[in-house]
Amino acid sequence: MPWAEALLTSKAAGQEVTEEGRALSYVDALREALTLALELDPKVFVLGQGVNDSPGMFGVTTDLHKKFGTDRVFDTPLSEEGLTGICAGAALNGTRPVYLHNRPDFLLLTFNQLVSHAAKFHYIDNGQSNVPMVVWSAIGRGWGSGSQHSQAIQGFLLGVPGLKIIMPSTPYDAKGLMLSAIADNNPVLIFEHRWAMKTKGVVPEGIYHVPLGKGIYRRRGEDLTIVGTSHTLSLAIEAIDELSKEGISADVIDLRTLKPLDEEIIFESLKKTGKVLVVDTGPEMAGVCAEIGCLVAEKGFHDLRGPVRRIGLPDSPVPAGYTLEQFYFPDKNRIAKVIREMVSGT
């Protein structure tokens, strides 16, 4: 996949939206969500490195500062830990920050304030304080992003009480989940995926909310349950759609949010199919795949008719060059191969 960014852009240009309704690009859907939130609530403000630049954070924030002023939409110093604490303190004192980062890798600089402060205050203040803040970042893949610009760290944060974690996969969800995140009274992390951000879809106008903690079926089928989020789930959908000609079908569950986790929908589907494949954009080890796999083994053991399988990333850093990267990330063919194995019991 040479220069995947250009490839994706050309693919997106040719993408047709067949459903009825207003078609919008993923990025435009996100910008619309921010615009609506800024219009609705004077307490909302948007910050991040480069939000006022002409590209405007991949286009997500383009020109918002012209409409809402630089008091409410502003570029920040490169102080990720400090700014995360500043967002937490601002949220404690009555505003609703939306802090955007290019990449989740930069969130690793913020863990002290994110994990030990923002996520804790509501609990340790015994419910007397709220921290309504959104931290947004876009997972990279390809284009030489490599080990320090492609990390999908949602799994690290899964075990942090008090945080909510959103992983959208469609433009509709990106907008509705962003609006839900801003309206929520807790610290909410949104992990976009740069490849999902190249898609188009039907996006209603105006304000609507996609509920946090609720998954949705993207496909209904018989042979297995595929559960996951974001770009990897979209790859799984491509795989299962192709496998239909081999007579294989699956329940495909888009969890939309990883935390709180919609366990109910997973077990509902498992009862029917007896087989679970977990897919994630992050590492297989100790992450989302591992947690959901363990959950299914612990609480759904008697419904399982085969081993839980997971498709995530190997226990190795991401290589920068496309020559190696092609062997690193899962694609639809690799997912299809695992599905075939699961269905045939081999």
């Binding site: 307490k43 403000f45 008091d71 409410r72 920040t76 110093p77 102080s79 830990e81 400090g82 700014l83 995360t84 604490g85 500043i86 967002c87 937490a88 303190g89 601002a90 949220a91 404690l92 004192n93 009555g94 505003t95 920050p97 002290n112 304030q113 030990s116 402060h117 205050f121 509501h122 609990y123 340790i124 203040d125 015994n126 419910g127 007397q128 304080s129 709220n130 921290v131 309504p132 009480p161 008090g162 909510k164 009274n185 807790n186 709180p260």
Partner: protein, 341 residues
């Protein structure tokens, strides 16, 4: 060896008082410091009972910083702290009963037994909270000030932290942002020379802390943290600056920690500092210093001091009884407030 002699410290000139002090104001400062000292000593004397199962960080010797700063604040102004919370909390008017209940891990503690001594809060008086991570409250307070500015609240936000906090990057990230946005925030660095047992000289190369803040574009000064009126005047000026849109202020207040970093008693005998240094600093007791001054001005005497002490003692006794007799949380209380509705 006395590593940090009082006489060697160069203080910035304290701002001149704007008007003559009201005698009640001065006696109020004295009483507030005395009360904190007595509460600290009462906690210390009972700590060995092992019923206050919370790591305490006594503020004995440093009371003037808390009292002087908070005397310049209104109820609606907010204070955040580091782990050494108790002086700040009490000076801002935090409930003593709720604090002791928190130390006894009771349901009616100021944080419902979820915070302990290192995380007190009393929002009704503007004591907004604290962090047990050194420097953790500094960005948080800066953010609170940002909200105050954005929402046009008439409110000043103040954070207390120690000298070691200035070794954390988040402090400088915060100062940079506060200066950039001219935020209504006051940074109070309580320099007591020691981070647990590590002296300042093994941690910093000798550059004055307040001068580093100055280099970040903040109005900065170093004041004598044993002189409550110096602290008060510096804080008053900082509050006026914040209220008038003049931006942030950094105040380094130097006062000595008479006790160990944590727990009861002085641990100097373990060797990290000379017990003689502790004794030398006790000559500059902020409470005794103000008392002598007020006696000289004939505003206070032994009789009044003793009746004050009795009054405070009664309050302390009552608060301990309240805490000890309060209910413990139950298992059902464990999982509430993980998320906010």
């Amino acid at each position: 060896m006395i590593r940090y002699p009082y006489k060697d410290i160069e203080f910035s000139p304290a701002p001149r008082p704007k008007k003559k002090y009201d005698p009640d104001f001065l006696i109020g400062l004295y009483r507030s410091m005395l009360r904190i000292r007595m509460i600290q000593e009462a906690i210390e004397s009972r700590y060995h009972e092992d019923q206050m199962k919370s790591p305490i960080h006594l503020v004995i010797g440093q009371e003037a910083t808390s009292v002087g700063v908070c005397a310049a604040l209104r109820n609606t102004d907010q204070v955040y702290s580091s782990h050494r919370t108790q002086g700040n909390y009490l000076a801002k008017g935090g409930s003593l009963k709720a604090m002791l209940s928190e130390l006894y891990c009771r349901l009616n503690g100021c944080a419902g037994s979820r915070g302990g001594s290192m995380h007190l809060l009393d929002k009704s008086v503007g004591y907004a909270g604290s962090s047990a991570i050194v420097a953790g409250s500094v960005p948080v307070t800066t953010g609170a000030a940002f909200s105050a500015q954005l929402l046009k609240k008439d409110q000043v936000n103040v954070v207390f932290f120690g000298d070691a906090a200035t070794e954390e990057g988040a402090v400088w990230e915060s100062l940079n942002f506060a200066a950039l946005k001219s935020l209504p925030v006051i940074y109070i660095c309580e320099n007591n020379f020691y981070s647990v047992c590590s002296s300042l000289e093994v941690r910093q190369p000798g550059v004055d802390i307040y001068k580093k803040a100055e280099a970040f574009g903040l109005n900065s000064c170093r004041i004598d943290g044993s002189q409550v009126l110096h602290v008060y005047e510096a804080a008053r000026e900082a509050v006026e600056r914040a209220q008038s849109g003049g931006g942030p202020t950094f105040i380094e207040s130097v006062a000595y920690r008479w006790r160990g970093h944590g727990g009861a008693g002085d641990d100097s005998a373990s060797g990290y500092r000379d017990p003689e240094e502790v004794k030398a600093w006790q000559e500059f007791c902020p409470i005794e210093g103000l008392y002598k001054e007020l006696v000289k001005q004939k505003q206070l005497d032994e009789v009044r001091k003793n009746s004050m002490k009795e009054e405070i003692q009664e309050e302390i006794q009552e608060a301990f009884e309240h805490a000890i007799n309060s209910p413990n949380p139950e298992e059902k209380d464990l999982s509430t407030h993980v998320y906010s509705d």
